[in-house]
């Protein structure tokens, strides 16, 4: 097989496996890029080579490696360009003085510990072709890396980008990243010339070039922004010029003696941060780079990772030592500096864990080190393991120390009506309304407002819109972009709110957040906010599937709150309500909600349908039911009528009765063919044939009462109840 054919086949394999494993890690709620790195390692001697010692070298023979190398270097160059592009000075606005201190201490501590560790490692795992200075410098640099791109994604996905912790972490990571690259440039220069003194010319040239790019280069690139503003789009000619610039800059830094990637990174940083230009440029570049070229880099790196080299216990001990120094150095440094800056303990701790993310950036640094011969394959493997472990632990540790509390704080600020002073009473009744499509779900929010009302008690309706970031590693998931999307969605929800009656509007507070798993986020927010009810809409896509699939089913299954599912028939009115009655808690919930609507809409009427089979006597109304009815004020009771119906088919009876009403409320009981969790295979009948809008309710908690405040409000208002 010719080399070219083999290389293309290898790339095919690499892309496919990267996607698969990446998505697997996504499912584990880890960054996609970690999965891609692991896929690369799997293809190398660590797994594939071990399992198939004859197939592996046949599939990845040595003469194809240089080709993979070229592809991966090109990928790296453009990837670093994208990183520089995303580095927006806006990130540096937040708490700059704190960030400088924290980020520099978070480099200096692991760096020092790294150089001390070099004292241990040099005689053990290095060889005499590397000077101690170069080795120590490199190891120190490797310990002090924080991966800004991976960190930015983790922050966006946890909705932290607007919080104090989030902005601080981003600023620190940005400063940290830039400083670490400079350290790496120094390490490379020293390695190539073997002493710091001999590296001085290289350092000076590098500084001159950086200065040039950030001043004159920037001015020149601003012309580009002007051109873009005039034409409104990024033509291929302009794109060609930009790519030529990337390559030219990379070549210049290579000639200077630091690595290719710095030039590309520098050009990205120097590009004018015109939002549309940056976005279009990023979108045009990233798809190919991220799906084709970058996985090749990971595979190339993986082919050099040999976990089999750690074949003695002492080597695993050294690996643990490396891990301990890396984690400890970063965490202690960051925590200490953060505490000195005045951050509370929890935030400082969360910041420490966040800054530990090393991921992709570390891998780039390590590959350079291995290529230069500063580190041996054994140390390379140990450091790769360190990079993976530190990145892997960030998300879980962050959730453990901080995320829930922050969600709470964040939501407290956005989810309650504005203008509440701390002495004012907060809402005691809350409905959470997941809204997928603001345009078509007006009826849903309308219903929520009708149930909540404002006369009984201070109530709040929270329409919830969750932005799912589709592309895990793209420009659209950077914090600034995510904020822009959030703002867009908030506008859409605001339109929705403005269509509601004026009385209700102040009590409808939209929440917009980023969420990768919509069902999970919704359930979590409902718990944190102590929502009394989750009200969702259900459109009827393919009714051939009997299960209530997708999000609604997931939420029904996992929510620890009462849930109601609304099937809208686009009736504008909510005046005539039908409640088929059975003696179970779900129907009781349905009754409570119906009564709330009655209470809030003075014109509404309720018909309670009691279906009995021809040979049965009418079932007695339950004790709770009668109790509730007795407590109602007369204004409410007069609008309720009981309608006994004799029929063999309860469902058909309901369908017939629904002809005359606007809304039918039904509990998830088998009677009406609706299972608690899945809205089983009878759902078709009722949901299809019901003539009115349908509200399916499921009670979770037996203790929650949706009526207590309505009733007590009446007592307080002095209404007499007839015993």
């Amino acid at each position: 097989m010719s080399t070219l054919v083999l290389v293309l086949f290898q790339v095919l394999l690499v892309i496919g496996l990267s996607r698969l494993v990446g998505l697997g890690f996504r499912w584990l709620r880890q960054p996609l890029v970690i999965g891609e790195i692991v896929a690369g390692i799997m293809l190398g001697p660590s797994l594939f080579g071990l399992l198939a010692p004859n197939l592996a070298p046949a599939l990845f023979p040595p003469d194809t490696i240089p080709y993979l190398n070229v592809l991966s270097q090109v990928g790296l160059i453009f990837f670093m360009f994208l990183i520089g592009l995303e580095l927006n000075p806006k990130y540096l606005q937040g708490q700059f003085d704190k960030a400088i201190l924290i980020s520099h201490v978070s480099i200096l501590v692991p760096f020092s510990l790294g150089t001390l560790l070099a004292l241990l490692l040099y005689p053990l795992v290095s060889n005499a072709s590397v000077t101690f200075t170069a080795f120590a410098l490199f190891l120190g640099a490797a310990m002090s890396i924080t991966a800004f791109p991976v960190l930015a994604r983790i922050i966006t996905e946890n909705n932290l980008q607007g919080s104090r912790l989030g902005t601080l972490a981003l600023t620190c990571a940005a400063v940290d990243d830039a400083t670490a690259w400079c350290l790496l440039a120094l390490a490379i220069a020293v390695t190539r010339t073997n002493s710091i003194v001999a590296a001085l010319p290289t350092i000076v040239e590098a500084l001159v070039y950086i200065g040039f790019m950030l001043t004159l280069g920037r001015q020149f690139l601003k012309l580009l922004a002007r051109h873009y503003r005039r034409t409104g789009r990024l033509t291929q000619s302009v794109l060609a010029c930009i790519y030529m610039g990337v390559l030219a800059s990379a070549l210049i830094t290579e000639l200077i003696g630091i690595h290719l990637i710095f030039g590309a990174f520098l050009l990205g940083v120097a590009m004018p941060k015109n939002a549309e230009l940056t976005r279009e440029l990023a979108e045009k570049t990233e798809d190919f780079v991220l799906t084709f070229l970058l996985p090749v880099f990971f595979a190339y790196s993986g082919l050099r990772t040999q976990i089999g080299l750690l074949n003695r216990p002492v080597l695993w001990l050294l690996c643990l030592a490396v891990l301990a120094v890396a984690i400890g150095g970063k965490y202690i440094g960051t925590y200490g500096a953060a505490r000195i800056s005045g951050l509370p303990k929890r935030e400082a701790s969360a910041l420490g864990w966040l800054m530990n993310t090393r991921g992709l950036t570390e891998l780039i640094v390590l590959n350079i080190g291995l290529s230069l011969g500063v580190i041996s394959p054994l140390l390379f493997t140990m450091l790769v393991i360190m990079a993976l472990v530190t990145t892997f632990m960030t998300s879980p540790l962050l959730e453990m120390t901080y995320a829930k509390e922050l969600i709470r704080q964040d939501l407290v600020e956005t989810a309650d009506p504005p203008g509440l002073t701390p002495d004012q009473v907060l809402p005691t009744y809350r409905i959470l309304v997941p809204v997928a499509n603001p345009q078509s779900q007006k009826g849903l929010v309308h219903l929520a407002a009708a149930i909540a009302g404002t006369t009984a008690q201070p109530a709040v309706v929270n329409p919830l819109s969750l932005i799912q970031l589709q592309e895990d590693y793209a420009y659209e998931s950077t914090p600034l972009e995510a904020d822009r999307q959030i703002a867009q969605q908030q506008k859409a929800l605001q339109h929705l709110v403005e269509a509601l009656p004026a009385l209700v509007q102040p009590f409808v507070q939209p929440i917009v957040r980023v969420g990768s798993d919509v069902a999970r986020e919704t359930v979590q927010i409902a718990e944190v906010e102590q929502a009394d009810l989750i009200l969702m809409g259900w459109h009827r896509p393919a009714f051939s599937s009997n299960r209530l699939g997708g999000r609604v089913g997931q939420i029904l299954g996992s929510a620890r709150t009462d849930v109601a599912v609304f099937i809208d028939r686009q009736n504008k009115a909510l005046e005539r309500i039908l409640l088929p009655y059975t003696t179970d808690l779900h129907s009781d919930l349905g009754l409570e909600l119906a009564l709330r609507i009655l209470f809030n809409q003075p014109d509404a009427v309720l018909t309670i349908l009691q279906v009995t089979a021809p040979d049965e006597t009418a079932a007695e109304l339950s004790y709770e039911f009668r109790g509730v009815m007795q407590q109602l004020p007369s204004t409410l009771r007069s609008r309720i009528q009981l309608e006994p119906v004799v029929s063999l088919e309860p469902i058909q009876a309901v369908v017939q009765a629904s002809e005359a009403v606007d809304l039918t409320i039904v509990g998830t009981s088998r009677e009406w063919g609706i299972e608690r969790q899945t809205l089983g295979h009878y759902t078709d009948t009722l949901a299809v044939e019901c003539r009115s809008s349908l509200l399916i309710v499921r009670r979770y908690s037996q203790v929650t009462s949706h009526l207590a405040s309505v009733l007590s409000a009446n007592l307080a208002a002095g209404q007499q109840t007839i015993p």
Binding site: P45, L50, P53, A56, P57, P62, N69, Q73, D97, L101, H104, V105, L108, F111, S112, T115, L116, L119, L121, Y122, P123, L124, V125, S126, N127, A128, S129, V130, F132, T133, A136, G140, R192, L260, L309, N311, R312, V314, L315, S341, G342, I368, L370, S371, L372, G373, S376, P377, L378, L379, P422, V425, L426, T428, Q530, D532, T704, S705, H706, S709
Partner: protein, 186 residues
């Protein structure tokens, strides 16, 4: 449902030192840390350069120049060393000296393990030696002499030592063939 009205939790108290004082404190702290680290780095590298010694670069393939006793006359022994600092993995094969160097050995071939303590010590199995009517378990010790000489007529690195079997010793002299030192490339 909460019937008790709930209030917002009180905000955590923020320390507000006067801006000037905090800036000066930060600056002093920052400069002090920087100087400490630089000093530490200088000390460490000075100590490391003078006192610490890493093993020489032993990576490569070493070929004996004569056939070993009991082995086919046109065969040679080839020792391939994979070095991880002090820790060595190696493979001992029986090869035809005129044959081209084949592709790099798979990880499983490195069945000898040992370390460097001023000399190479390896132990393990060499399955190829079965065709020399020898047991395949052996131990190998050798002294290493680095490559030297002018670029016009360089002397390759070589190993001098012995291979020990149960009840037998073979002398072992080999010269380095392939230069396995990594190049300053990408």
């Amino acid at each position: 449902m909460n019937e008790q009205p709930h209030h917002r939790p009180p905000e955590s108290p923020n320390r507000h030192p006067s801006p000037k004082r905090s800036l000066r404190t930060n600056l002093i702290f920052y400069v002090a840390t920087l100087l400490t680290v630089l000093g530490l780095f200088q000390l460490t590298t000075a100590y490391g350069e003078t006192n610490l010694q890493a093993p020489p670069n032993l990576n490569g393939r070493y070929l004996t120049d004569a056939a070993a006793p009991g082995c086919p006359p046109d065969s040679r022994l080839a020792l391939t060393i994979q070095q991880s600092g002090r820790y060595l993995n190696a493979a001992l094969e029986l090869v035809n000296p005129n044959a081209q160097i084949s592709s790099p050995l798979p990880p499983r071939a490195f069945s000898l393990q040992g370390d460097w303590q001023q000399q190479i010590s390896l132990a393990g199995a060499a399955p190829d030696l079965a065709s020399c009517q020898q047991p395949t378990d052996l131990a190998l010790q050798a002294n290493f002499q680095a490559a030297s000489g002018q670029t016009s007529s360089p002397t390759p690195a070589n190993l001098t030592g012995q291979i020990q079997f149960t009840g037998q010793n073979w002398p072992f002299t080999a010269q380095q063939q392939a230069v396995a030192a990594p190049t300053n490339s990408h």
